[in-house]
C-alpha cells in the first residue's frame, strides 16, 4: 500500500488555489495518552488544520524547547511505542481523510529499521516524515525507502543555510520544505523574525513548485497571518501542546486546541 504523499501535495495546492497558506499543526503521539492524543488531533483537524504532524517522542529531543520536551516526557513515561504512533496516524487520517505526517529524530527510525518504518507508516495512511537531525547528505537510505512507499521527505532549512545548500536540499526533498523561522529550538516566541521571509524567498527560487512552510515560534493568529503573506504554510506546534499542558482537564484541553486551530485557520486566511 502506498503512502499519501499525493494527498499532502494536493492539500497544499488546494490552499494555494484558495489564495491562502495552509495550516499545519504538530502534536506528539501518546500525549497526554495515546487515545487522548488521537482525540486532540481530530479536534485540531475539526478546528481547521489542513495537515497534522504527529510527533514520535524521543528520549533526547535536542531540537525541542521545554514545552515539547515536557510532552515527550509525559508520553514516554506513559509507555508510548512506535505501534502507538502508527495507530495515531491511522486513526487521525481515517477519521478526517486529511494528510498526516510523522516528525521525529533519526535514531528511533534507524533502530526500528527504515524499511519496516516506512512500510508501516505508508500502510497506516501516513503522508511522509520530517527528520530534523537527518541532514540531506546522510538521507539516501531514508529517501530510497520513503520513495518506494509513497512518503514525502520533508527537510528543514534554517536562516543559516547558504544558497547552494538550499538547492541541494530542495532537490532531494518532497511534499514541502520546513523553513525554520529563526535560529533556535521549538517554542513560542513574541515575534517571527524578518529572516523567515528572506529564507522563504531564497528557498523558493531553488525549486519552483515545492511549497515552503514556516515553523518555529508561531503561536497565534496575528503571527500566522503575517507568515501567511509570504509562506505556503504555517506550522504551529508548541502553542497546541501548551494548551493541553495548561488545561485543567482533558475535555477543556480538547476544546482549547480546537479553538486555537480555528483562530489560526482564520490567520492563514488573513483574517487575524
Amino acid at each position: 500500500m502506498s503512502g499519501n504523499i499525493e494527498l499532502l501535495t494536493d492539500t497544499l495546492a488546494a490552499a494555494k488555489a484558495e489564495g491562502r497558506a495552509a495550516l499545519i499543526a504538530y502534536l506528539p503521539a501518546g500525549f497526554p495518552t495515546v487515545d487522548g492524543g488521537i482525540e486532540a488531533i481530530k479536534n485540531v483537524f475539526d478546528g481547521g488544520a489542513d495537515v497534522v504532524e504527529v510527533g514520535l517522542p524521543h528520549s533526547d529531543p535536542v531540537l525541542d524547547g521545554p514545552v515539547i520536551q515536557t510532552a515527550d516526557d509525559i508520553a514516554l513515561r506513559g509507555g508510548v511505542r512506535i505501534a502507538d504512533v502508527m495507530r495515531t496516524v491511522r486513526e487521525a487520517h481515517a477519521a478526517t481523510g486529511k494528510p498526516v505526517l510523522v516528525m521525529t529524530y533519526w535514531n528511533p527510525v534507524d533502530r526500528y529499521g527504515v524499511e519496516r518504518f516506512t512500510a508501516e507508516l505508508a500502510e497506516a495512511g501516513g503522508a511522509g516524515c520530517i527528520l530534523p537531525d537527518l541532514p540531506v547528505q546522510e538521507s539516501a537510505l531514508w529517501r530510497e525507502h520513503a520513495d518506494k512507499h509513497g512518503l514525502a521527505t520533508v527537510f528543514v532549512v534554517a536562516p543559516s543555510s547558504k544558497d547552494a545548500r538550499l538547492a541541494e536540499i530542495t532537490a532531494a526533498g518532497s511534499g514541502f520544505v520546513y523553513a525554520a523561522s529563526l535560529m533556535g529550538v521549538t517554542g513560542t516566541r513574541e515575534s517571527v523574525g524578518a529572516q523567515a521571509q528572506d529564507l522563504v524567498q531564497r528557498t523558493r527560487v531553488t525549486r519552483a513548485g515545492l511549497p515552503v512552510c514556516v515553523g518555529l515560534g508561531v503561536s497565534d493568529a496575528v503571527q500566522a497571518a503575517e507568515v501567511a503573506t509570504f509562506a505556503d504554510g504555517v506550522i504551529v506546534g508548541s502553542a497546541f501542546v501548551k494548551r493541553i499542558l495548561d488545561a485543567p482537564d482533558h475535555a477543556s484541553g480538547l476544546a482549547a486546541v480546537r479553538e486555537l486551530a480555528g483562530d489560526l485557520a482564520k490567520g492563514v486566511r488573513g483574517q487575524a
Binding site: 524521543h58 528520549s59 533526547d60 529531543p61 535536542v62 531540537l63 524547547g65 520536551q69 516526557d73 514516554l76 511505542r81 512506535i82 533519526w106 535514531n107 528511533p108 527510525v109 534507524d110 533502530r111 526500528y112 530534523p132 537531525d133 537527518l134 541532514p135 547528505q137 546522510e138 527537510f155 528543514v156 532549512v157 534554517a158 536562516p159 543559516s160 543555510s161 547558504k162 545548500r165 536540499i169 525554520a180 535560529m183 533556535g184 529550538v185
Partner: protein, 427 residues
C-alpha cells in the same frame, strides 16, 4: 619546525571526508548547525596547515599546561597486578588536573581564529568544564558550562572552580540529569546562539570533525608515552590501558600505538553496579549501533531507539554513547573493551592512593582496576602503560562517603579493616 605537541592527520588513520571511521561517525545534525560545523572543519583544516597555530599551541602546552607530562612507574601498586611493571601517564599533573586541557587549548585557539567571542561546553565530572572555563579566562571569552544537576551535586568542588574562573554554570534538570542531558542542552544553546558561539565539545564524539579534531589534540598523550616507555623500559608495552566514557583520554593514549600490533589497546568502561543489573554505562559492552549527539556509534538504547539512562559512580563516565573511533576499534578487533564495576574502581582508587601517594580521579580508577586484571593475566614479564587521566581531589566527597572516611569511630574502624584486606592482597 615541526610541533612537539600537536600531531594531526596520522597517516592512514584519518576518517573519510564525510567523517566515517568504517561504519561509524558521520554528521547527524540539524540544518541550523551545518554551517557552523562546516566552519569548524574549514578553520581546523587551515589551522593544521599554519605553522603559527602549532607554535602557539606548543607554547601553551609547555608554559601553561606543563607538558610533557611525567611517566611514573608504580612498583608498590604493581605488586597487586601479578608483578607486571606498571607505568602511569600522568595527565593528572597537567594544569587543571586532567587531560582535558590538551583539547581545550587547541579549540580555544580555534575559537579565536573564527572570531567568536563566546564558548559553551558540557561537562560530566567537571574536568572538561574546568579546563574550558580556564581557557576562557585566559583568552577573555564568555563561558557557559552545562552540567547535569546530579553531577553539580556530586562534583560540587568543580562547580565552585568554574564559577571562580568566571564561567556561568547551568544545572540541567531534564532527562537523567547527567552528561547526556548536559550535551542536549548545550546543543540547544548552540542552535540559538551559533553566530558568536563556539561549542567546545569535550570528547571524541559528536559530529565530524569533532571526533577527529579532539583526538588530534589528545594524540600528544600517546606520542609522549610511547617515547617515554621506550626510554624507560627499553621496549613497547604489552598493553595500553585507559578508561572510556566518551573516550577522549583513551583515544589520546591509544592512537600512537595503533600501528604497533603487539600493543594491546584496552579500554575500561563503567560497569556501575554490574552489567546484569542494568545499572551501568558500558556502551561498547552492552550497547548497539545507533545515533546520539551527531554521530553513529554504539549507544545504550531500547529496541525502539530510545536512549536508556546510564549509571556510573563516576560522573565523567556516566554517558550512554562512545566516540565513533572506539566503535571502529572494537569492531575491527584492534581495541579491547572490558567493563569495571564501581566497587573495583573504588578499590583501585584507594590502592593507588595508599601504595603510591597518588589519588586518582574515579574515572581513571576504572583504568587502574582494569590494569590490575591485565597485569595478573600477563604475569611478571608484563609491561603496562595506564593513562592516569585526572586527579582525584574533586572526588574526595564521593570517596569519603563510599569508604566512610568522615569522623565516626565505626567508619574509621571499618576502614582499618579494609586496609588490612588490601595488604593481604599483596601477598
Amino acid at each position: 619546525m615541526p610541533s612537539n605537541y600537536f600531531f594531526p592527520d596520522p597517516e592512514g588513520q584519518v576518517p573519510s571526508s564525510e567523517g566515517y571511521f568504517g561504519a561509524f561517525g558521520g554528521k547527524f545534525i540539524p540544518e541550523a548547525l551545518v554551517a557552523a560545523v562546516d566552519e569548524v572543519a574549514v578553520e581546523y583544516d587551515k589551522a593544521k596547515q599554519d605553522p603559527e597555530f602549532a607554535r602557539e599551541l606548543d607554547d601553551l602546552m609547555v608554559n601553561y599546561t606543563g607538558r610533557p607530562s611525567a611517566l611514573t612507574e608504580v612498583p608498590r601498586f604493581a605488586g597487586h597486578a601479578g608483578g607486571a611493571r606498571v607505568f602511569l601517564k600522568r595527565e593528572d599533573l597537567n594544569h587543571t588536573g586532567s587531560h582535558k586541557i590538551n583539547n581545550v587549548l587547541g579549540q580555544a585557539l580555534l575559537t579565536r581564529r573564527m572570531g567568536k567571542t563566546r564558548v559553551i561546553a558540557e561537562t560530566g565530572a567537571g574536568q572538561h568544564g574546568v579546563a574550558t572555563a580556564t581557557a576562557c579566562a585566559l583568552f577573555g571569552l564568555d563561558c557557559t558550562i552545562y552540567m547535569g544537576e546530579i553531577d553539580t551535586e556530586r562534583q560540587a568542588l568543580n562547580v565552585a572552580r568554574m564559577r571562580m574562573l568566571g564561567a556561568e554554570v547551568v544545572a540541567v534538570k531534564s532527562g537523567s540529569r547527567t552528561l547526556k542531558d548536559a550535551i542536549n542542552e548545550a546543543f540547544r544553546d548552540w542552535v540559538a546562539n551559533v553566530d558568536r558561539t563556539h561549542y567546545l565539545f569535550g570528547t571524541v564524539a559528536g559530529p565530524h570533525p569533532f571526533p577527529a579534531m579532539v583526538r588530534d589534540f589528545h594524540r600528544v598523550i600517546g606520542v609522549e608515552a610511547r617515547r617515554q616507555i621506550l626510554e624507560r623500559a627499553g621496549r613497547l608495552p604489552d598493553a595500553a590501558v585507559a578508561c572510556v566514557g566518551g573516550g577522549s583520554n583513551a583515544i589520546g593514549l591509544f592512537h600512537a600505538f595503533v600501528p604497533d600490533e603487539g600493543v594491546r589497546l584496552i579500554g575500561c568502561e563503567p560497569a556501575g553496579h554490574g552489567i546484569d543489573t542494568g545499572e551501568h554505562a558500558a556502551t561498547l559492552t552492552a550497547g548497539e549501533p545507533g545515533i546520539l549527539h551527531g554521530s553513529r556509534s554504539y549507544v545504550l538504547q531500547d529496541e525502539e531507539g530510545q536512549i536508556t539512562e546510564p549509571y556510573s559512580i563516576s560522573a565523567g563516565l556516566d554517558y550512554p554513547g562512545i566516540g565513533p573511533e572506539h566503535a571502529y576499534l572494537k569492531d575491527s578487533g584492534r581495541g579491547e573493551y572490558r567493563a569495571v564495576t564501581d566497587d573495583a574502581a573504588m578499590r583501585a582508587l584507594r590502592l593507588l592512593s595508599r601504595t603510591e601517594g597518588i589519588i586518582p580521579a574515579i574515572e581513571s580508577a576504572h583504568a587502574l582496576a582494569g590494569a590490575l586484571d591485565v597485569g595478573r593475566e600477563l604475569g611478571p614479564d608484563g609491561l603496562i602503560v595506564v593513562n592516569l587521566s585526572g586527579r582525584g581531589d574533586k572526588d574526595m566527597d564521593t570517596a569519603a562517603r563510599y569508604f566512610g572516611l568522615y569522623d565516626t569511630d565505626a567508619e574509621v574502624a571499618a576502614d582499618a579493616a579494609a586496609t588490612a584486606e588490601i595488604e593481604g592482597d599483596a601477598k
